[in-house]
Symmetry: C2
């Protein structure tokens, strides 16, 4: 849905000791960022924090006041280190209540009371007042509490949940991007690029060195919501590269 | 170097619009976390922030007071969006000064004044009072300012810089880890795992579902600095898995 603000902002809170220990490399930030770009919402910050209640409570409370939307990933499974739902409830000063729909679905999946044990039942409890976020991969829900969206950490489940959110989120114009690569070093394009950035302040121009197929080069990436300005700035960057003896090659942005 | 505190903490600040836009997937957190584990320093938080001076200044100032060490990656190249050195200088209330050694090395590399242009010279300026961090890949230095370590964003350069830091960092006992996998679902091991976590509060036990070779399962990861406690807790986890009809298989941790 499209709103009237000039910019809608989001923060992602990645909850999980396994990311901070280096065991697991986060894959959710990149996916969510891409989705949000398309919905006209800018991911403005991400934080990776450990499975510590006090830290989760404080981070959620700080971020939900600073950004239009907050997303969390991780910590909604059945084990002792899955404390996200309880921590978010605490951040909002409410208790946890059973989500009857997911409880019934899960009770049907596990035939005996031993299988549908306390640990699994825990996954069906969400903060009082939250709206469940269903997922097509597993039964256990995420949830939305005010402007905070609590998603799974497992990438396939996180994606299934994120893909259902478009109708709940109000964004601005989609963020468009164009990019080109050239075999000129960053130090050669830096001056001209700064001039172009000054001429188009509404376009965010980034420069990233690369080493591919035995050659150094630079990727130049332009982002913005104004398609005409984006195209004009892109043309100026391509002209500058050509003027410096480079060959601008369009790239995925 | 080994110090006397029970825990040494670190925060990583990833600076770069390209991570938040989803264009680039960060690779530096995982590498740095592994290095820090070995040096007895725990990565306790990471933040990904945009190339905005005010945000960098505020984040650096907040984090350098909250953690023993702060590392930043990104934003020390020659282009207009490389504002990390200037922003960190501002955070400390100092100006930028020329690092004579890297300036001389770079002047030798680029033969003409046109090649050693203003953009490239910018890379040799570091905050007044900072100690350069050399890198064996490119000439442009990172730097240490008090407890803040400013590293490159390009992974090969970031790694070369990080690898030189061991002698500047005081840590505690190295963080050890052991892990096993089993083809039991998380919901089946959750109860027993919580009991084991309670018995060994000094060991951090994590549980992570996986899907490999067509089978669901759970990885159980134990971390701590006390080798004997780690081994005992690991044995208890393996026994629990066996007791539930699973086969504990050692995994990389």
């Amino acid at each position: 849905m499209t709103g009237t603000k000039s910019e809608y902002t989001a923060c992602l809170i990645v909850i999980g000791n396994e990311i901070l220990s280096g065991r697991t490399r986060d894959a959710n930030l990149q996916y969510l960022a891409g989705r949000l770009n398309g919905w006209g919402i800018r991911l403005r910050e991400a934080r990776v924090i450990p499975d510590i209640e006090e830290t989760i409570v404080e981070t959620v409370n700080r971020c939900r006041r600073a950004f239009d939307y907050v997303f969390t990933t991780g910590g909604i499974g059945p084990t002792h280190d899955d404390i996200t739902a309880a921590s978010v409830a605490k951040a909002f000063g409410v208790g946890l209540v059973k989500d009857p729909k997911s409880f019934a679905l899960m009770a049907a999946r596990y035939e005996t009371p031993e299988e549908f044990n306390e640990s699994r039942q825990k996954m069906c409890f969400i903060p009082d007042g939250a709206v469940p976020i269903e997922n097509s991969v597993s039964v256990a829900p995420g949830f939305q509490m005010d402007n905070v969206f609590v998603l799974a950490g497992v990438p396939s489940i996180m994606r299934a949940m994120a893909d259902t959110l478009q109708n709940r989120l109000i964004g601005g114009a989609p963020v468009r991007a164009r990019a080109l690569g050239c075999h000129l070093p960053e130090g050669a394009v830096a001056g001209g690029l700064a001039d172009i950035q000054e001429r188009w302040p509404g376009i965010d121009i980034g420069s990233y060195p690369f080493y591919r197929e035995g050659k150094f080069g630079t990727s130049l990436v332009l982002r913005g919501t104004d398609a005409a300005a984006l195209d004009a700035a892109y043309a100026a960057v391509a002209d500058m590269v050509t003027g410096l003896g480079g060959v601008p090659a369009p790239e995925d942005s």
